[in-house]
Symmetry: C2
Subunit: 437 residues, 2 copies
Amino acid sequence: MRLSRHFLPVSRETPADAQIVSHQLMLRAGLIRQTAAGIYAWLPAGHRVLRKIEQIVREEQDRAGAIELLMPTVQSADLWRESGRYDAYGPEMLRFKDRHEREMLYGPTAEEVITAIFRDSARSYRDLPRTLYNIQWKFRDEVRPRFGVMRGREFLMKDAYSFDLDEAGARHSYNRMFVAYLRTYARMGLSAIPMQADTGPIGGDLSHEFIVLAPTGESEVFYHRNWEQLRSLDVDADDPAALQAFVSGLTADYAATDEKRDPAREAAAGDALRQSRGIEVGHIFFFGTKYSAAMGMTVQGPDGSAITPQMGSYGIGVSRLMGAIIEANHDANGIIWPESVAPYQVALINLRADDAACAAAADEIYAKLMAAGKDTLYDDRDERGGAKFATADLLGLPWQLVIGPKGLASGVVEMKNRRTGEKAELSPESALARLIG
Amino acid sequence: MRLSRHFLPVSRETPADAQIVSHQLMLRAGLIRQTAAGIYAWLPAGHRVLRKIEQIVREEQDRAGAIELLMPTVQSADLWRESGRYDAYGPEMLRFKDRHEREMLYGPTAEEVITAIFRDSARSYRDLPRTLYNIQWKFRDEVRPRFGVMRGREFLMKDAYSFDLDEAGARHSYNRMFVAYLRTYARMGLSAIPMQADTGPIGGDLSHEFIVLAPTGESEVFYHRNWEQLRSLDVDADDPAALQAFVSGLTADYAATDEKRDPAREAAAGDALRQSRGIEVGHIFFFGTKYSAAMGMTVQGPDGSAITPQMGSYGIGVSRLMGAIIEANHDANGIIWPESVAPYQVALINLRADDAACAAAADEIYAKLMAAGKDTLYDDRDERGGAKFATADLLGLPWQLVIGPKGLASGVVEMKNRRTGEKAELSPESALARLIG
């Protein structure tokens, strides 16, 4: 993309109302713009990152055997009366009436809708197990929205729902998602710790939050220092026993949120106990027949008897993840994107747009990068070099390739790694070979 | 995807409340399920089609130079007061208050939001021209939702907005979208006629609806029979004069909706005048400074003077297109998907799931199709052949590949083209070669 034709409104000023660095950088780098309290538009560069995060989430859900569908944002209050949650859910649920005075709501989650869909379609034990997921906008009317997309009101969530014939099956479905979540975060360069957690308005007996450590996190968390090491995620998720052993092995190391602290386990951890703040980037629940029983969902078992499915639900805040990634990946000059979610891979900077030789060289390199399928943001604007460098650092693309008249005269371009700051002078051919691989 | 592990609830019965064939077939084929009046969940196969339609729309928008972003679904009433539309827009706008009693709405369109975003970011004539688009859920509270996704309340729309420095530029942006729309529909196997149309609540001087002819369409339309021929869309859209000549050439043939009939042009068409019903699948508008002036948006011109941008907006009903495609592509047995939007390319049918040789042969073919990136729905269920054929025809995948014990004994499988009904007995190798190409 040529910056001269793009829509990338960057700003040098730190917005006064943004308290945390991810919120500041997302505004400054032109990734988002607030359109109402806690509601954001995703500008082109931010939208590209959102889609990359979403695609990683999708691929790991598919790999875990979950099946994608899409539920609507507007739900009927009647469904929530069936589960008994309509009155129980607080003022965070955005409620309204349609023109015929029917009570509706903007879905904050979708246990009721998916249970109704599956109830009307699944007839036999052969229709189970299934895990269904969707990636859709949700709304929670936070009393005090803040921290940008980290605690916004309209947010993009991946929510999955598992249906099993018995509790052992449901545990396996839960464990599959447990591992899928860790794989998802790892692909974004995030290290997330699964912690025993409260089940809140979703309900149930077993729940883990996935927490990224960050000083700006909203939760106080406690964990064994073993969690600071990288874990292998190499396990056969199709083998229930192997998978259970793997999950049990991981959770043998203590980790809990403030609400779920266990004094005995903390004492056992001794010196190895760590305390930090953390950002929740996922939450999974096993709640048995809470919704299936309340909503009268059964399937016919092999012997003709009625089985009430065991369920779990599994959420990832897709839009919130962007904030968490930036909290964990930035420096004083701006964002440092992991390659897997960067809006573009390469910032191609022509230092002298008014110099015909520079423009010709940069145009040629741009054409070659694009032909090789390498997403490139080409700064072809008539601006000072300093402003171009600042924009590239702020936007945080993994690689910068700088074309200037001096270098060109001696046959070289400058290549900089945004994360390490390492610079090298290379021939254009060598630079291209390194980037295209 | 193995059907034994999929979620594809097909039904033999025609739903009593579905009046038109696309609505009936979408319910029967397990593409959608109604969750409230005029609100649908997209089941896995329907979701796949929706994403394919969306992707074609996206690619043609990108090709036309439009830049993707994403606006939220919930908007502030204040923005609509700036444009003066809040009171003018009727009861189709879903209005509500948040927990702090602020007036909000579920966006039926986004002229105000995009104008506010662009106003706050664009400063100079160098920031124009730009066309920005997004593909996002919209809500229009139809008094009588019907025809399934064709006139639903929550629907997926691509909406684009152009900003130009003068009217000539705005006309060029309009013409670019005009051609992009025709290319979009052509890629889905649809022939859509651009018709002069009313501007309705969007406003403006110039507007075209794109209409697919179908007896179940909601509008009465009139057109010159020349529109029944296929048109070449081969034009250089970067050349304003060539593009204008091309668009003028096309629109020289009369075509208008009921509200915009022109007796003189109809008389001139004489015998060549045709009358039909049609489905609107897109609507484009040029409205000059209607929103930019009302909302106080200006940029600084080269001479320092303030310029109020000329705007247009351009909508495609992405979810509605699925209904229109089915209206134009079905027979008594079910849907006949164009290859570009089919949920899967191949229905692989094992006639005897309990026969080891059949299962082994089908498994092998399935593995090869998937390895070649050919989306395949593999019917590996323990069901009668008749039921499997009926499901495949109903679901309408372009190709059916049938593995049975008799054929296998003589080294052949049967390959059927869903559209033509043509069948051939081939060796598995030849069948694979034809499908994979």
